[in-house]
Assembly symmetry: C2
Homo-oligomer: 297 residues x 2
């Protein structure tokens, strides 16, 4: 075993996979005693950046390569799918593997596989799509040949670790949403170096309009997010959620709940559209959770 | 050197000090490229819990010892003082040392010393006071002899690492506050296992009413917080800030700004009173920050 005392991670598997361990800290767990989905996504973000850094290609602190920086290009995430089999708890160590692949002619896919480093059990699988944007014009860009030369050698030739959820995300509005939370504003600590809101923060806002009875009795099992535009420091957001009928199709009798989400600017622009799946909490763990409060069991 | 591959920490210095390293992650830095004060306080919380855990005295996940659990006693923080000399940045490794001492007959003091693990430079010093509360009656409790026997052997006999800031914190109100932020509510992810808001979250809310021009041009150099009562899941909070005249006493010509804060329930009860000191950003670092945006330089 290679020792990695500070948890910086390292490249494994012939140079194609970056691996980093994280021990789950007390402040990363929530009301359910498990790591929150934001924690999970933070770990994904951290490994993505460290992957680029370890490859010697990190030029700006946000994943841009030297050739991208020359051209004022940045990565923007357009889609993210996450499937969570099990959430780790305080003291658990998770092993995050990440790798990249081509996506069409101009995009990049990044996948993650998260395991319990002790048991090897798969905890989470995630896949994401990224495109390049010009930082000045805010327009999408083709991938320049020079950038492809920098990163193409790292691309793997494998299908996404999560099947593409290509079902169209309907646009929610005041009439179709069941829950609307208004007046959401970035906290100072939500801002990144560019004074933008980091895309992980959006997840917290989306869950702000998820109904409390679902949050209390269910856990997030899966999530598809489509990112449409940036949220800036002065943005005021609304979070809309619709709970989809539980009795249809695969969801019948499973106890699963599906929700649709929209995060929009108070002025109207779409920031994120999303879909979440929820399963009953502790469904397969009854008996091992002696300390569960009655209302959650 | 003892290897601690997963960063769980260990007891050092004859058993009196618990030491744990943290590498600062990309998602723990904010708009200034440095770790936020909440990140710092999260690390303090984590080492406190791991200290109790390493001593074999952690009975409930919140720092209560077995004898405390028997009696339904929990620790509650009554006061916290933090001095920050320098904030670490992404990739830095910080070494957090923590130890405990008696505080009067029934309380406990916990101190922390945070260093840059590479250079040994002191980054942060913090001290805190804790008392015991009965979880059912919510009344403060004396320290039972059985608890003193459990933990007394770990108490060090040294003065606090930060001199006590005993200046009375004035009670702000609508007339004396310069800035008031209303309607602050806990996010689901702000709640801990007891459905309470973790005390670190309060810091974010306090800073919510700090004026943007100060946040943009200054960094938090020091903070004194007095915790008065708990914030529950349904609480709606107001954050009040008064900027103290800069031209008085030690603050004259130093560029330092001092603020007073109150976090209160919309119904009126005090949650936290506080005082913060701010120093001009990058004051001693001009020249080494090539990427600084013009407006921050």
């Amino acid at each position: 075993m290679l020792v990695d005392p500070f948890g910086f991670g390292r490249i494994v598997q012939d140079g194609f996979v970056f691996r980093q361990n994280f021990s789950i800290r007390s402040y990363e767990i929530g009301a359910d005693r498990t790591a929150s989905v934001e924690t999970l996504m933070n770990h994904l973000q951290e490994t993505a950046l460290n992957h680029v850094k370890n490859a010697g290609l990190l030029a700006d602190g946000f994943g841009s390569t030297p050739e991208m920086c020359k051209r004022n290009l940045i990565w923007v995430v357009s889609k993210m799918q996450v499937l969570v089999d099990r959430y780790p708890t305080w003291g658990d160590v998770v092993q995050v593997d990440t790798w990249v692949a081509a996506s069409g002619k101009n995009g990049m896919r990044r996948d993650w596989l998260v395991r319990d480093s002790n048991t090897g059990d798969i905890l989470t699988r995630a896949t994401s799509l990224w495109v390049m944007m010009n930082k000045e014009t805010r327009r999408l860009s083709k991938m320049p040949d020079e950038v492809r030369e920098e990163i193409g050698g790292y691309f793997v030739d494998s299908p996404p670790i999560v099947d593409d959820d290509s079902r169209k995300l309907p646009k929610l509005d005041d009439n179709t949403a069941d829950y609307i939370r208004t007046g959401l504003t970035p906290r100072w600590s939500d801002l990144d170096v560019n004074q933008h809101v980091n895309n992980v923060k959006y997840v917290g806002w989306i869950l702000e309009s998820a109904p409390l009875p679902i949050l209390e009795t269910h856990e997030l099992a899966g999530m598809t997010l489509e990112y449409r535009r940036e949220c800036m420091r002065d943005s005021v957001l609304q979070s809309l959620t619709a709970v989809v009928d539980k009795g249809v199709g695969d969801l019948a009798n499973s106890g699963l709940v599906e929700c649709q989400h929209l995060l929009r600017l108070e002025g109207g622009g779409e920031i994120v559209k999303g879909r979440t799946q929820w399963r009953p909490k502790y469904a397969d763990r009854i008996g091992s959770w002696g300390e569960l409060p009655a209302e959650s069991a």
